[in-house]
Symmetry: C2
Subunit: 413 residues, 2 copies
């Protein structure tokens, strides 16, 4: 099931994809702000979107598009303006953006999906976008994933990219992804844009199911600040260019592909939590002993999202009491006399009662993790056992620092 | 209905109550940490408690006590140790505390209610509590409310106290209250302790109903950081010493009393939100146009609790987009094209679209509010109309500042 390996190339790692990212003048800073992902052939397409009642025009647009036909050939993404809460004009802008790209690419407008991120209530700077389309298309290349990853970020400190390869029927199959997001990150979905490309051949029905399930285990399990965005979008393309047999029902091949897709989404989700606004640590919360997996995930999210705990983690304070308190208010019934809490390898609570532990060593464990920020071993692991079932779940978050406040107090002014 | 007036005296304003607060050595700082509220006669008693699965011993104790008999004569509160997640020993400590106070007061142990606040997982310092009981009882007086209010705080910057008086059947009736809480404040309930005294004569059934409804409109509508505590407790005593006719069913007198009780709880709840850890502003969110009142309250809480909005308010940034985004993820369906958002008197969004507004003036409105912190006019008012019904609701919160992080990063270490 896990016989994949990492490869370079992001969304252009799978066969038959090109990408580009340019500075079109949408961001006042002059940083790259317009991205393209393009499949040489029409691809099966699926999406998972924000559950907010206030949705950006691009979300409405993609949902309508994918409902009409589950395929696409290009994704256009702009950063700087969210084009949310922009009414009829915002809708017209999304439509025009798709049409302009379709013309430049020489494809049908229905094959273009669009995504926006940035300040809510601001329309896309259409003048800049219009002049940016031609150079964007010209820049598209099979090595363009890095440039695209750079052009979709907002407050992100690092770009996020991953690609994995496995083999099906003796031939290589690849899934690549780029994503952005660092604030307003919370289930379900976040100001989080994620684009996945795949060169397997798969039915649209199965691809959508796989993408939704992968999102539940990854993007819907990360939380930075409890806020859900108007623009959250995960789009997945599968273009069949690997020339492997078409996957049309669940089975060994489908399981293999779904496991790799889930891994790609989990790696991206973790990279978003790790890059949480102001974060100095990646928090991984593993919950066991819940009535079922969904309940375990719910408790894990509540713990990863606790502002009090996040502030304690920022202070490198092994404050297990806040872990227990967050578990208690998660809305999942359990017997507090069975509760067990671990921080790293330090058992801090068992049978619902605190245990003596080496506080300086536990604090040192948290400090060591922080020193490895942006490396693989920067994770602070919290393990909780509710003692009441076989359900398990994982969630990821980050600490709450002065910089989170600074970033968000000064974003529009 | 609102013919009450404010009077001094807090929980000792109603007839027949005494209170005290002393430094018994429970807090490492040496600050006051042991409080007593005492009714000269047995009083009708009601309580509202945390909904967390992880409950402090004092919460279990009070719930069992009030289930057995809805009356009490004394409330003992310690600050410094929460006595939550302390297992059988914590339960024994709560029991012993109640018994020691009962002996000192010469009343039955069943007439004592207990409450704790402080660090989760720490037992009450029983040696200090044992030696503190005698001086605490000796200090009890009809002017002791202020001392009690001081002895129940933890990270609070100010003590919180209120008392109102009205007349029933031509005789004065009073309700007084003291409370504490500034972090971990979130529906339902929070690390929030509130004690209400009343000298009306009322049936226990009605008193419990009134207290629960008042909590729904007040303490359950404040949020500081989304965390719910293990210790949240609202206790209400009604001792009948006003010598007014007993209220045994709903009607004009009951309505009057409930309105005043609700007002007492709302004033206390607002004072808790205003004193949110690190807060520089009181945020009041009024929601209209919801399917019903409960839905309106839910949306109001989501807005008041948005970390992104709270950080923007700290930055005096009139970021209406974050208000719309928070409303959108509150779990209440509405038509985004009907959404209207106001900040103070500034209409920022109508028909789901942004409107031009005087940004410097709106920012100045927020700055002015901050300058009045701890005064009556320090409130930043956010009004949202969902355009879909007649439900209304209010919630209170505060901004998210560097100091919130600082306070909570350094609490136990």
């Amino acid at each position: 099931m896990t016989d994949w390996h990492e490869i370079p190339g992001g969304v252009t790692a799978p066969k038959g994809y090109r990408a580009a990212g340019i500075a079109a003048g949408l961001k006042p800073s002059g940083a790259p702000d317009l991205a393209l992902i393009y499949s040489e052939v029409e691809a099966i397409a699926a999406g998972v979107f924000t559950t907010s009642q206030v949705k950006a025009a691009c979300v409405d647009y993609c949902q309508q598009r994918l409902e009409a036909k589950a395929s696409a050939q290009a994704i256009l993404c702009n950063a700087g303006q969210a084009n949310a809460a922009t009414g009829a004009q915002g809708w017209a802008d999304a439509l025009e953006s798709a049409q302009l790209l379709a013309i430049a690419l020489g494809i049908a407008p229905e094959l273009v999906l669009v995504a926006s991120t940035g300040v809510i209530g601001q329309r896309i700077r259409m003048e800049q976008l219009r002049t940016g389309i031609a150079p964007l298309v010209a820049a598209a290349s099979e090595t363009g994933s890095g440039a695209a990853a750079k052009a979709i970020v907002t407050t992100d400190l690092v770009t996020k990219s991953v690609a994995l390869e496995t083999s099906i029927d003796g031939r290589p199959v690849r899934i690549g992804g780029i994503c952005k997001g660092s604030g307003m990150i919370h289930p379900n979905m976040a100001t989080m844009l994620a684009f996945v490309t795949c060169d397997a051949a798969i039915s649209s029905h199965l691809w959508q199911k796989m993408l939704s399930r992968a999102a539940d285990k990854s993007f819907n399990q990360i939380t930075v600040d409890g806020d859900t965005s108007t623009n959250d979008t995960l789009l997945g393309l599968a273009n069949g260019q690997s020339r492997t047999p078409a996957i049309t029902e669940m089975g060994a091949d489908a399981d293999k592909l779904e496991a790799m897709l889930t891994e790609v989404c989990m790696r991206m989700a973790k990279s978003v939590a790790r890059d949480g606004e102001g974060a100095t640590i990646l928090l991984e919360v593993r919950v066991a002993g819940a009535p079922d997996d969904a309940a375990a995930r719910q408790v894990a999210r509540a713990i990863a999202g606790s502002a009090l705990l996040k502030a304690a983690v920022f202070g490198r304070d092994p404050n297990w009491g806040r872990i227990a308190a967050a578990a208690g208010r998660a809305g999942v019934p359990f017997d507090q006399e069975q509760l067990q809490v671990k921080l790293g390898d330090f058992l801090m609570m068992a049978g619902g009662q605190p245990l003596p532990f080496d506080r300086p060593a536990a604090s040192a464990y948290m400090k060591q993790a922080a020193a490895g920020a942006y490396l693989k071993d920067d994770t602070v692991l919290i393990s909780v056992n509710l003692g009441g079932g076989i359900g398990t779940g994982i969630a990821w978050g980050c600490d709450l620092s002065y910089d989170y406040v600074k970033i968000n107090a000064e974003y529009t002014t």
